[in-house]
Symmetry: C2
Subunit: 467 residues, 2 copies
Amino acid sequence: MSTLLQALRARLGEAGLLMGDDLGAYENDWRKRYRGRALAVARPACTEEVAHVVRLCHAHGVPIVPQGGNTGLVGGSTPDDSGQQLVLSLSRMKRMRDIDVANASLTAEAGCVLAEVQAAAAGAGLLFPLSLAAEGSCTLGGNLASNAGGTQVLRYGNARELCLGLEVVTATGEVWNGLSGLRKDNTGYDLRDLFIGSEGTLGIITAATMKLYPQPRERLTALAACASLDAAVALLALARRRAGDALTGFEVMNHASLALVARELPQLAQPLGPAAWTVLLELSDAESAEHARGVFEGLLEAAVEHGCVDDAAIAQNLQQAKAFWHLRESIPLAQAQAGLNIKHDISLPVSAIPAFVAEMDARLAAYLPGIEVIDFGHLGDGNLHYNVQAPRDVAPGEFLAAHEAAINEQVYDAVVRRGGSISAEHGIGRLKRDELAARKDPVALQLMRQIKKALDPQGLMNPGRLL
Amino acid sequence: MSTLLQALRARLGEAGLLMGDDLGAYENDWRKRYRGRALAVARPACTEEVAHVVRLCHAHGVPIVPQGGNTGLVGGSTPDDSGQQLVLSLSRMKRMRDIDVANASLTAEAGCVLAEVQAAAAGAGLLFPLSLAAEGSCTLGGNLASNAGGTQVLRYGNARELCLGLEVVTATGEVWNGLSGLRKDNTGYDLRDLFIGSEGTLGIITAATMKLYPQPRERLTALAACASLDAAVALLALARRRAGDALTGFEVMNHASLALVARELPQLAQPLGPAAWTVLLELSDAESAEHARGVFEGLLEAAVEHGCVDDAAIAQNLQQAKAFWHLRESIPLAQAQAGLNIKHDISLPVSAIPAFVAEMDARLAAYLPGIEVIDFGHLGDGNLHYNVQAPRDVAPGEFLAAHEAAINEQVYDAVVRRGGSISAEHGIGRLKRDELAARKDPVALQLMRQIKKALDPQGLMNPGRLL
């Protein structure tokens, strides 16, 4: 065992340092795109142990790959195959340090699973609104390192907007205590937001203070059929005007998305008939079920009059509301069943989305007849999952091998040309690192490299990711 | 004329470079605490000219002091008295570049006055919610450089939360085009939030894309009398629970604040009798005046039942609503009339405020009998203006000379001990630079200095401010 591993074992104990052949859960990413091999897996139990691990790695020149729940989609939290990188798992740092009801905030360690954080807030009668598909296994630290989005961004923002303060172990192994329950603090550079979204390349988030909100009295869900994406954008403006901040969800699904669900998951009821676009709306009401229903009915009537909605259904009870959401959330599952596909997690100004989709759909159809665009996502945030599926008579594996690069280039070119982002919520990691270097504003890239060099001069924090 | 000034004149023309004895408006700060002397005042008319000025100063090693509306409260935007610093005024960059209604965003240049930005949004049927006392002369660039707060933070956040993207001239004179209408973009480090609040020490903000919101149908205002600060905190929780995001204002005023207004501005009506604490609540309603009134009446009845409110008045019309706000906003004016005082713009977790105020009030009363604490501010954001006025029989000037340092130390000690901030919304500038160096977490200070050195290696951007 090397000097470094001996020193780690001495400080972390048996449970704190995993070695050997059985580390697959830490070495392979969730989407199974990257298989790596770790030097070892360190599992520190407290902030001081994290700092100690970082200082040891610093002294030995060993790269560190921080890891939360390992549910990331861009290969950002697993080691390369060199066997030289240490995985630093935050999975033992699971303490809920504090809940402050009067300040509507909680402080939790990085390894707390998102669903546990939600439950702790609910236990105190409050809402922690961050919510996404992996919430049963992703961790708060990973959510912050990747600035996670999810289904409640329209009203509550990304992980970034929900964070009040951080505790961070820097790249040189010092502890910055920036935990804070403050809503306002203008005392210098915004270090918090620099670490959020930096994907473990500048330091390691060990704990965070997060905002909590009142629990809404009632959550109500509806589906609406729109004849075009322009109509869906008009519905969004109308809904924001009439419902204000009560509008907490606005998801769109194109015709192909729900047709795919009907094919792959025929047991799921689809309350509305086929439409060019189906919108899922969610209202969160501070008053009562009756009030929420009144707002929804008024809104949908106005939308029908206004010509932007052709048909609509309001969920009659909680079970039906869940079924509506389940329909939306089943699209990725239906895609997985149908075989490999090319995913694009993109964002655009909301105003630019209809023209982008029209252009792209036409270009892809011309490029390869029979191609299927499974287009769905968070229209209220300008974020689409614009996924491309093989024509039904082409094997998905062959399709990807032959067309992935060309299709990515077409999609990302059009996104950047219209002022959009090639990664709205999933981050960069290894998957989009070259794409970022090629497409990001060169001045921004230079500033990012200067910051990286200033804060991690040895380049040991999650190397090869992001930059 | 030096080579630098000749080169500036050649590029900027007569209107773009001011020299001579008549520069007081650019050299002296708004509070009249700092009188400086500038090498000259450059007034570039476009981003490329700003970049050119920065490159010239870089080549000549001349420090730059960026300046917006010069309404800052901490001496951050005026030159020192050396006559060697160039003031770079953004006052000619006043173009409203774009309003995107469907995306609910606008892009404006740094020199646009805040009130003009508000008016442009209103002209498009939308709301730009940033609002503060200096809005008639402060500029968007200055608002962002100082991360301005104001009266609508409770619902809409600081300038930071309202910003989608920036255009920045870096310290080496390159242009970073980070203007963006995107709500979600996870492509690398958060440069936007690094420049926001950096007080011109890392680069110069030349334009910004800002979020817009639907105009509320109705704004309703009420005053409530509370017997204690604990009661006011309980009222805040109740109001958030019942009104949700419709609660857009929650300001508190202590007894001494309104007594001072009654003395200095007796013409202002005070609808409620004297109370330990008076709360101003504002509701913004997406539905109707009747709905807003119903929510307010229900809330205040519940608060009286609950025991946290003793008396209340809802504004009966717009004029009365304005009068309620005017009462709150007259406190600084009444203070100015009463003479010099010691201002503290502090924030604390909301839960920590009652104990802080009880402790501090008692300690100051013991320190100097007759001292008056004029305590008011944005309780919903945890932000108090905890200002200390001389005993009525002591001349304010003498009071400050004898006691300012000792009182600052007592107040800031208690703030930091309770996890608070010594500058909630005004920033650091020159006024609190030493205080920051003494009180900020040393690891944070070190990170800030590393970033400063990486992005401004010559140290020419607003030197002597913040760090």
